[in-house]
C-alpha cells in the first residue's frame, strides 16, 4: 500500500492538477475594424466557444489572453502571472478562495466562488472580474474589454 502511495506522489506533476494538458497551441483571434476610440478589436470566437462558467486562452495579435465567461459576464486577462510570469489563465478550473478578517472574527469564509483563477505554477490566486491578486492587495492584472456582438465575442485592446 505504501508503495502505491509513494508512486502516486512521485507521479503528481503540475500538469496533472491545474494546468491544462495540451501542446501550448491556442485559437488565434481575427482582427476587426478598430473601435471609435482607436483601440484594436479582435474576434476571439463565438458564444459557443465560451459557454457559461468556462474559460480558454486565445492568441490575440502577439499576446495570449484568458477569456472567461463567468455567471453571464465576459472578462479577459493577460495570460501572464505577476509573480514568475507563469501561464495564469491556463488553470484548468475556476474556484473560490478562503478569506478571513476582523469582520468575521478571523473565521475563514468561502468567497468569490467560481470567480478565482489560480496560477498553475505557484498557486497565486486572482479574482477574474477585477484582476485583483487575492494574496497581495497592491497587485492587479489588467482587464481587457470583452463584449458579445451577435455571433462574435470581441476583445478590445
Amino acid at each position: 500500500m505504501s508503495g502505491t502511495i509513494k508512486k502516486s506522489k512521485e507521479s503528481i506533476q503540475a500538469e496533472d492538477t491545474l494546468v491544462r494538458r495540451g501542446t501550448g497551441a491556442f485559437l488565434e483571434a481575427t482582427p476587426l475594424p478598430p473601435a471609435e476610440n482607436g483601440r484594436k478589436r479582435y474576434r476571439v470566437g463565438g458564444p459557443e466557444d465560451f459557454p457559461d462558467n468556462s474559460h480558454r486562452v486565445v492568441d490575440v495579435d502577439g499576446r495570449q489572453l484568458g477569456v472567461f465567461h463567468i455567471k453571464g459576464n465576459l472578462y479577459a486577462l493577460p495570460n501572464i502571472c505577476p509573480h514568475m510570469t507563469g501561464p495564469v489563465c491556463e488553470a484548468d478550473i475556476l474556484t473560490g478562495s478562503l478569506q478571513a478578517s476582523d469582520e468575521t472574527d478571523w473565521k475563514p469564509e468561502w468567497v468569490h466562488d467560481g470567480e478565482v483563477v489560480v496560477c498553475p505554477w505557484h498557486g497565486l490566486e486572482f479574482h477574474v472580474p477585477t484582476g485583483q491578486c487575492l494574496a497581495f492587495e497592491h497587485i492587479r492584472i489588467r482587464r481587457y474589454k470583452v463584449t458579445r456582438e451577435g455571433d462574435d465575442i470581441v476583445v478590445e485592446i
Partner: protein, 78 residues
C-alpha cells in the same frame, strides 16, 4: 480560427513608473500595460515589477520552445 504555438507576450517587458504604481509594460509600446504594482509603504512594488519583467525577459531570450510553452514547468531559480 486556427491554432498555433505562441508566446504569452510576443515582446520583451519593462517597468514604467507612475505616481501611484509601477506598471509592467511591453517594451515596444509602453502604454500597453499588463500588471500594476501599487506603491505602498509595506509593499515592494518596484521589486515585484522588476522581477516580473526580468523573469519574462529571461524566458523570452531562451531559444528553447519549451521555455515559452504554456505547459512548461516553472523555471529553476538559485
Amino acid at each position: 480560427m486556427s491554432a498555433r504555438q505562441s508566446r504569452q507576450v510576443n515582446d520583451r517587458l519593462r517597468v514604467r513608473e507612475e505616481s501611484e504604481a509601477y506598471f509592467v509594460v511591453l517594451e515596444n509600446d509602453q502604454d500597453d500595460w499588463l500588471v500594476a504594482f501599487g506603491k505602498a509603504p509595506d509593499f515592494a512594488a518596484r521589486e515585484w515589477a522588476t522581477n516580473m519583467a526580468e523573469s519574462y525577459n529571461e524566458r523570452f531570450a531562451d531559444p528553447r520552445l519549451d521555455a515559452i510553452k504554456m505547459t512548461a514547468p516553472p523555471p529553476r531559480r538559485g
